[in-house]
Every structure is written in C-alpha cells, then in structure tokens.
C-alpha cells in the first residue's frame, strides 16, 4: 500500500540550516549534511533542501552544500532555490539531487518546467507554490494567490490555476506552502491543500504550519495531501520523523514503518 510521505525540509541560508517565522527572523539550526543524514536515519521519507536566500539575492544554489548533503543520502533528495534555467537544474542534478523544485523562475518562464522535464523526466520537477488566501475574495481558498520572492510579492496568479498549468506542462509534483501558516506551528491550511490536490492528478506536498501530530492527520485526511513537509518540528528535537510516523500509524494513516 502506498504510504503518506513525511518530508524533512532544510531551509538553507548561507550554507546553514535556518528556521524563521513566515520567512523572517531566521535562527541557526545546523549543518545541512549532518541534519539531512540525521533526518534520514530518524525515518524521514525524503529530504528537501530549499536555499531560501537564493532567489531574492540572485545567488546560485549552493552546489557544494548539495554535493556534501547528497553524498551519504539514500532517500529521495529534492533541492530548490535559485534554479532559473535548465542549465542551473543540470548542475544541481549533477551535484546529487534527485528532484529540483522551481518556484518564481517557473512563473516567469513556465517553459522551464518542460525544459527540465525533457532532460531529467517529469518525476524530477517539483513546482513549488507559495500561497496566501485572498481575504478580500468571495472564496478566499479558491482565489488564493501565488506569491514570489520568499512570500514578499504577489505574482498575479491564482494558486489552483497555476497548479493545473504546472501539471499540464509536465510537473511531477506540487509543493504547496501556505504563507499564512508557515512557521506558526498552528496547523496546515487543509482547505487550500485539498483545493489544489483535487484540482491536479499529480502528488501534492503540503507545507507550512506543522506543529503537532494532529496537524499531519488532518492534512492527510481532510487536506488530501500525498506528502507533508516539516521543518521546525524536527530541528530542535521536539520529535523525529519516526515517532511522528508511529503516532500517525496509530491514528490510522498509512506510513513507512519500520523505517
């Protein structure tokens, strides 16, 4: 039986793992290779490394960090941040990533999704969407807006429509981050996640707001997520992926155990 994936996310800034609330007030949370290896050992189904400084500072992704992190990692490894061209993606794959995630660059040039998919396969292209509900709209969830530049700037696209377009262009998965929930540890945006998951035929990874086991139960049930991302819940020893998955199994969620 297919299992729900628990993905450990490392937000990386200047080569260090960091965690902030709604992408500001960053605190140091360790060395990426050490953290990635620890999460894999402790049962994470996948590792995502997001270079959160890359896009708005225009830096290239830290290939050296990717290389060091990939070296001893034998679970799927996705890297995002600062990938603007198929050439950038090729370098990240070469450094050891199994998947790349594209966000603002794909919005600026949606053909990028096709270009990377052609060379590396659709399964290797994750389209990351930073979303905020639109409180002024009649349906704040259906009309949720895409944001870019670390959640600073509206992209002028609706989330559900952009997810569909990304799928049509050959994205393998959608990584949906609720900017409203991110870093709050108050729970995922299950309504928004369900809206996107129902609109596309590819897996949706829910992100933003993880703080308790019940939040994961909720996003896999009501939120119809195929995978969920967690960062701060793990970094400070609050919980491991293994203990989270044991709790999820007790709550009736199908997860990879033992792991």
């Amino acid at each position: 039986m297919i299992t729900k994936r628990i993905i450990a996310c490392l937000d990386v800034h200047d080569g260090r793992v960091v965690k902030g609330v709604q992408f500001v007030d960053l605190i140091d949370a360790g060395d990426p290779p050490t953290q990635a290896a620890r999460h894999a050992r402790e049962g994470a189904d996948e590792i995502v490394l997001l270079d959160i400084t890359a896009t708005h500072q225009g830096r290239a992704t830290l290939l050296d960090t990717v290389r060091r992190t990939a070296r001893e990692l034998f679970v799927p490894f996705c890297v995002g941040g600062g990938i603007r061209t198929a050439g950038d993606a090729a370098q990240v794959f070469e450094a050891g990533a199994d998947k790349i995630s594209v966000n603002s660059a794909a919005l600026a040039d949606p053909m990028l999704i096709e270009a990377i998919g052609r060379s590396f396969g659709a399964q290797a292209v994750v389209v990351a969407i930073d979303a905020r509900r639109d409180p002024s709209a009649s349906d704040p969830v259906r009309d949720a807006q895409v944001f870019v530049q670390g959640g600073r700037k509206p992209a002028g696209r609706r989330v559900v429509e952009w997810a569909r377009e990304a799928e049509d262009r050959g994205a393998g998965e959608i990584l949906l981050t609720s900017m409203d929930s991110d870093g709050t540890r108050a729970g995922f945006d299950c309504e928004l996640t369900a809206a996107v998951s129902e609109a596309v035929g590819i897996p949706v990874i829910a992100s933003g707001g993880a703080g308790a086991v019940a939040h994961f139960v909720d996003v896999f049930g009501r939120g119809k997520a195929d995978a969920a991302l967690a960062a701060s819940i793990f970094h400070f020893g609050i919980s491991s992926a293994r203990s989270l998955k044991q709790d999820l199994a007790r709550a009736g969620v199908s997860v990879r155990l033992p792991c």
């Binding site: 299992t3 894999a40 070296r71 396969g121 035929g201």
Partner: protein, 205 residues
C-alpha cells in the same frame, strides 16, 4: 567489483553511481561505445523519464551488445525504465521496441482511481526464492516514481499494489529488473543492490 552503467541520456546517473560506490563497487559509465560491453562483468541500466529514450540503445548498437552479454550470462539489472526496456515494449512509446527478453508489454496505470504517477514509498510482496531480493522481508518499503508498469507474470520477483498489482521486480536467471529505485530506497534498496553486486558472471556463464 566492476559494474558497467549504461548512460542513454534518460535522467540523472549520479544517485545510482553514488549508491554503487557506497557499496564498494567501481562503476564505469558507457554512453555509446558498445565494444566496452564485451568486457562487462555486470551491467546496470538505470533510467528515469520516457521509454522513447531507449531508442538511443538501438542507435548506438548497445542493444545488440547487451543482448550478447546477457546470453553470455552477465548479470544485468534494469532500474525503472531500464526494467521496462526488458519487456517487448511500452504503450508510452509504441513504435519503440524493448529488448523483449520478457515477452509482455508495459502499460500505463488505468486512469481515475488514484493519482498518476505513482510516487512514494510502497511495500513489496516477495512471493518466493528471488535471489535479487534475498533478505527482503514481505512488507518492506521501496521508493517508486513511474506512470507505466509491467504485468505480473511467472517471472515476477516482487509484486506491489497501486491501483492494481504490478511487477515491482522481475528476475529470470541473470536478468533482473526493479521498477522502484533501489538507490533511493534506504537500507532495503542498498540490500538489493548488494545482492546484485554479489552475483558473479562465473556462476551463470
């Protein structure tokens, strides 16, 4: 341990090479030089992406060289599209024949019930006596990412359920394939690759 890894420009080889090196193997990558297959001791054909990419194997003469190596008893492991290539073909690219070592064809998962592609960790049913899967307990999880799959037949070495049962692994003598990614399947995947590397040409030749 020498392993010949075929690069036919279908996706990224880094993870496969890394896993093989981690297990103490010495992988050499062959892109177009079919003559290098003659000396191969073990062959791995990875591959992610589209079945049509296997056309390059025909164009470079690698298909013929691999067929001859298999006949010599060289252990062969196809991964993902590399496994599908062992069959007669795939509906993903109906004009592109496979090796037809196994006579069936690969087909897409039926639409409607679940998401396609099948992405994530799923469990293995291991019916009996597979050498490639020795030591893998029923219910162990491996990582999949694919939309096309091979049918369950007498040569199936492991079955996985997604929408319907399909061949997660195939094995007949020295020819083996896995639909999942052993290089990304944690300890279970490494165990399977280790089994493959322990297989010597002399035993089957």
């Amino acid at each position: 341990m020498r392993v010949t890894v075929i690069d036919y420009k279908a996706g990224n080889l880094t993870s496969v090479l890394k896993a093989l090196r981690h297990l103490g193997a010495d992988p050499e990558v062959v892109e177009i030089d079919a003559s290098r297959i003659e000396a191969a001791e073990r062959i791995v054909l990875p591959g992610v992406g589209h079945f049509a990419a296997t056309q390059r194997l025909d164009a470079t003469g690698l298909t013929l060289a691999i067929r001859a190596a298999i006949a010599r008893g060289v252990p062969f492991l196809g991964i993902c599209v590399g496994m599908q290539w062992l069959y007669a073909g795939s509906t993903e690219a109906s004009n592109q024949p496979g090796l037809a070592h196994f006579s069936e064809a690969c087909t897409r998962f039926p639409e409607g019930k679940e998401k396609i592609p099948h992405v994530g960790w799923n469990s293995l049913e291991v019916p009996s006596g597979s050498r490639l899967l020795a030591g893998v307990e029923p219910g162990e999880y491996v990582y999949f990412t694919h939309s096309y799959k091979a049918p369950v037949t007498a040569d199936t070495a492991a079955i996985t359920q997604y929408i319907e049962p399909f061949a997660a692994a195939v094995e007949r003598a020295n020819v083996m394939g896995v639909q999942f990614h052993p290089e990304k399947s944690g300890a279970t995947g490494l165990k399977i690759l280790r089994n493959f590397l322990a297989w010597n040409l002399k035993e089957t030749a």
